[in-house]
């Protein structure tokens, strides 16, 4: 499986995931890659809690939160746990950071027997690339134009 998540200069986040699926999967098997909320998710929302009200009061602008997620790994587990949208829901309803939400979902996958990883970007350009296995091909590039890549979990 391959995927990408980007934040553009207009503040829009897009995620795209593409796969051949699972080796020797049964014909007709559908994985998490095309299943909305499990292997991919992007969402923008305006928080409404006390902190958001304080933010609006101080900045006179509405607080905007956005996230995009793409996943790879044991797709059937991503489906059972609605992994990708759960990242956004943890941020929205628990107020978790991008890093905490993605790590929690990846850890939950592992506890349920699923190996894999996620990549995610939020509205501030923060990124998270957690994995619960020995490796995930991954990379990030920012405005400096310098690509950074890694393969194994300790890189």
């Amino acid at each position: 499986t391959v995927g990408a998540v980007a934040l553009d200069a207009q503040g829009c986040i897009a995620c795209l995931t593409s796969t051949g699926g699972l080796t020797n999967k049964l014909p007709g098997r559908v994985g998490d890659t095309p299943t909305m909320g499990t292997g991919f998710w992007a969402e923008e929302w305006k928080p409404t809690g006390p902190l958001a009200r304080l933010w609006r009061k101080l900045t006179r602008k509405p607080l905007r939160v956005a996230v995009g997620v793409s996943g790879t790994g044991d797709g059937d587990y991503f489906i059972r746990l609605n992994a990708a949208s759960t990242v956004a829901h943890r941020m929205k309803y628990l107020g978790e950071s991008l890093e905490k939400a993605t790590s929690a979902v990846v850890e939950d996958l592992k506890l349920n027997g699923g190996l894999g990883g996620l990549i995610a970007v939020n509205q501030d350009g923060q990124v998270a690339l957690p994995l619960n296995c020995s490796g995930m091909y991954r990379g990030v590039i920012r405005t400096d134009g310098v690509p950074k890549t890694a393969i194994f979990d300790d890189e």
Partner: protein
Amino acid sequence: TKPVLVIHGGAGTLDRSRLTPELRVKYIAALEQALLAGNEVLTNGGEALDAVVAAVTVLEDCPLFNSGKGAVFNSAGKNELEASVMLSRPPSNRPDILPTRRGLGVTLITRAKNPSHLVRALYLAPESIHHAFLSGAYPEDFAASRGETLVDPSYFWTEARWREHRRGLGLPEDPLPYPSTTDSSDAPLDQLPKG
């Protein structure tokens, strides 16, 4: 907003002992090429949608990764591809796309050379594609009518993926159904990928 792009290939139990220096160079080169392709879109003021398509296209065209050329086989020896796209909000230059149009997934794809191009074509055609999830031949034929490339399913065949498919089923690996066009030493680290 300062643009940023992140990408991934497969994840799972990757075998360090299989990663020769030469193979590592190939993986890193492909990842960097994907990042640079997407970043070029972003640094030129392009949209996130086009950036992720540019990045994923590079990985789909690389036989090292389980997507597009190099996709794994199902138990019947066929490639069934899947792809999806989703945006946090509609593209700024497309007022015709309703905010409710969040994203789209396709599955059981067998002929689209680049499934990433297919989902973008479907996403940007909301007037006729008003569903969130499509499968089979129709989305491919629709995308082809919008100029996307369809290929014979044999395009996706690679020796490494074919051998792991046959080996996984306990079947003889030879003879190969097609002459190999890829380097047989480029056996992926993620043997029997999990998708």
